[in-house]
């Protein structure tokens, strides 16, 4: 269970990205964060694994305080939390396999991983995860030789190497062709349903959010303006979240 308690984030330039945000995520939930760009979705996700340090508030994961964890504890928490990014964040010049293996770094000792000495078990696990996302034949290609959709699948395979109990996804389909969005989202759905991994995913297309979310949290100017059932977001709520000028487009 993830508990976010009164979290605020003020950046050095004075921008208040999050303002007193609280919510909880039960195990096995598929939570989608929606909101306009700049509403604080990315900051919220990054506060959870402390890629960004929150200014105020506490975040607990399974009762353990993430916000006050020392570096060693933090690394141990991080390795249970996978993360997938909008721009994939692969090392473009490294091979697909090496990118996927890097997901295992939190579990390997420093010397052998720095020297690139991976156990046969880890390599096998990497190939397995690549097979799950359907690109095992690209293992030895350079990451930047792959298409956008394929790169995002490498990103998912890398996060799956952590055997996470919580998966964070920051706009995972925003830089993909809309036609590919569903195929990528389905991997998260599968992970959620077959392995019981909790998923927190930010999306800006409401249609996708409705289809995959078990619950939706909407952020506006750093504050939670909606927290509940995806199907209960009507026109009035939609305008509250996105502003009066917004019009919802169906995905297809």
């Amino acid at each position: 269970m993830l508990e976010v308690i009164n979290v605020s984030k003020v950046y050095d330039d004075g921008t208040r990205a999050l303002n007193n945000v609280s919510f909880t995520v039960e195990d096995g939930e598929f939570l989608v964060l929606i909101g306009l760009s700049g509403s604080g979705k990315s900051t919220m996700l990054r506060c959870i694994n402390r890629l960004i340090d929150p200014t105020e508030g506490r975040i607990l994961y399974n009762g353990q305080d993430i916000t006050n964890a020392d570096p060693r504890e933090l690394r141990q928490i991080r390795r249970q939390i996978g993360m997938v990014f909008q721009h994939f964040n692969l090392v473009k010049r490294s091979s697909v396999l090496r990118n996927v293996l890097s997901g295992r770094l939190g579990y390997t000792n420093t010397l052998s991983s720095v020297l690139g000495l991976w156990s046969a078990e880890d390599k096998q696990k990497a190939m397995e995860n690549l097979r799950l996302v359907g690109i095992e034949n690209k293992a030895n290609n350079r990451a930047d030789e792959l298409s956008g959709g394929q790169q995002q699948r490498v990103g998912i395979a890398r996060a799956m190497m952590q055997e996470p109990t919580l998966m964070l996804a920051d706009e995972p389909v925003a830089s993909l062709d809309p036609a590919l969005a569903d195929s990528v989202m389905r991997y998260f759905e599968k992970l959620n349903q077959e392995r019981g991994t909790s998923v927190i995913c930010s999306l800006h297309v409401l249609g996708l959010a409705r289809r995959y979310a078990t619950r939706i949290i909407a952020l506006k100017a750093g504050e939670v303006v909606y927290n509940g059932d995806p199907d209960l977001i009507d026109d009035v709520r939609f305008r509250e979240i996105y502003g009066d000028e917004a019009v919802e487009h169906s995905l297809r």
């Binding site: 964040n89 010049r93 090496r98 770094l105 420093t110 720095v114 890398r158 996060a159």
Partner: protein, 455 residues
């Protein structure tokens, strides 16, 4: 004068730009005035030939015409005006740089020995055994009774019209018994044993025996030192090729090979040491690594300044300093190249650190990796390939530079080349130049390949 156009033209005729200023185009007029003043100043100061006065006249006329057009309300031809103003500047530039196209073409023949040397580089030569037919010649007269004449191995003999004389006298040479149509060289050996070739009609060219094996020619006794009351025996010899070996690598070619090796090694050492030292500099000089802490900022500026200063000093100039410091030879060259390499590579390295993609680092941090693992998996894979590419490219540049650095005493092939050029040994110089070209081309290809694969 009520016509405003004519009045403005008159103003500009007296003072360039005045007409334009009067018509309200102040900056245009001022620019014309300043440019014209600069041209007049240059022409007077450099004391140039009438051609530049002509260029100035054209510019002046264009300015008057411009004033006329503007005051008359017509569209000014700014491009033409600019061309006219530029014309005297080109004329001055032409004269200052001593451009002389006539000399370029009429003196082309002076380049012939150099070009010939380049076309016949001294890589291979035959070893030649000469047959010699000779006569003693006494400077000055009289010759003793036992003056010698020797017959060549093939029985050829040479007779000489007089066996003593003074420099500048003309002597008849008659030969017989040579092989028909053989080529001969005429050599003069003085009493100390110094040999020199004798010119026939001012030419060095060997001369031919006729089809009967004989020849007749006249030569001028060369200008040799003598003592008036002490006649001494000089030797006048005719040499022909008795036998020659197959082509063999010459001494100069061996020298070129060893010095080219030295050059490549110089570049290698300079690149290696320079690259090693450039790494810390590049870390300190990378803005994204040094941000935040003010102490790091200071380090950043120091490192940047050192690199910029080092880079602005040409390695050739550094080599002059190091030649004085550690003496002539390859070590001075290595030091100069190393200094330059640190600066050049340091900048390139730090730029590639600065242009690093932070996304992968974020992603790897999110997996729970520690700092070492983040560097090994997120940073190094992004910077190592460009670093290698830059380093190989630098080696390539360093080889080119170390060929030149020898000219100021920094060792390597340039040292040899400079000597040979000064001694007018153009065939040997040709060999050196060919060797440099070949090595540079090969390295260029290799480094292009490596860069292609890495970037």
């Amino acid at each position: 004068m009520s016509n405003p156009a004519a009045l403005a033209a008159l103003f500009s005729l007296i003072l360039p730009g005045a007409g334009q200023i009067r018509s309200g185009h102040r900056s245009r007029g001022l620019i014309i005035l300043v440019i014209t003043l600069i041209i007049v100043g240059l022409v007077l100061w450099l004391n140039l030939s009438p051609a530049s006065w002509l260029g100035l006249a054209v510019a002046w006329a264009a300015n008057v015409w411009d004033a006329w057009l503007i005051a008359g309300g017509q569209r000014p031809k700014t491009a033409l005006l600019a061309l006219a103003l530029a014309l005297p500047i080109y004329v001055i530039g032409w004269q200052v740089t001593n451009i002389d196209l006539v000399r370029f073409f009429t003196s082309a023949n002076r380049a012939a020995p150099v070009v010939r040397g380049l076309l016949r580089p001294d890589f291979f030569a035959r070893e030649i055994d000469y047959g010699i037919a000779g006569n003693d010649f006494y400077l000055p007269c009289p010759a003793p009774a036992d003056a010698e004449s020797s017959a060549a191995p093939n029985g050829a003999t040479v007779t000489i019209s007089q066996n003593c004389g003074l420099p500048g006298e003309t002597v008849q040479l008659t030969g017989q018994g040579f092989d028909p149509n053989q080529t001969l060289q005429l050599w003069w050996t003085n009493p100390v044993g110094a040999e020199s070739r004798v010119r026939i009609f001012g030419e060095f060219e060997p001369f031919q025996v006729d089809e009967n094996g004989g020849f007749q020619t006249e030569i001028t006794v060369p200008n040799q030192r003598y003592e008036a009351d002490n006649p001494r025996a000089h030797s006048l010899e005719l040499r022909y090729i008795a036998s020659q070996s197959s082509y063999q690598v010459t001494e100069n070619a061996r020298l070129v090979a060893s010095r080219i090796g030295e050059t490549i090694a110089q570049a290698l050492m300079a690149t290696f040491v320079g690259a090693l030292l450039a790494m810390p500099f590049s870390l300190f000089g990378a803005r994204n690594l040094m941000a935040g802490n003010p102490a790091l900022k200071v380090l950043y500026y120091i490192s940047r300044t050192v690199m910029n200063v080092l880079r602005s000093v040409e390695p050739l100039i550094m080599a002059i300093v190091f030649v004085v410091w550690v003496g002539l030879g390859p070590f001075a060259g290595v030091l100069a190249l190393t200094m330059h390499t640190i600066a050049a590579l340091g900048k390139l390295y730090s730029e590639s650190i600065e242009s690093i993609d932070v996304g992968p680092i974020e992603a790897i941090r999110a997996t729970g990796a520690n700092q070492f693992q983040i560097i090994a998996y997120g940073v190094l894979p992004q910077v190592i390939p460009p670093w290698i590419a830059f380093t190989v490219f630098r080696w390539d540049i360093n080889v080119r530079m170390s060929t030149i650095i020898g000219f100021v005493g920094g060792g390597g092939i340039g040292f040899l080349l400079a000597q040979w050029i000064r001694l007018s040994e153009y065939r040997a110089a040709g060999a050196a130049i060919w060797a440099i070209a070949v090595v540079v081309i090969i390295l260029d290809l290799i480094s292009a390949r490596v860069r292609e694969r890495l970037i």
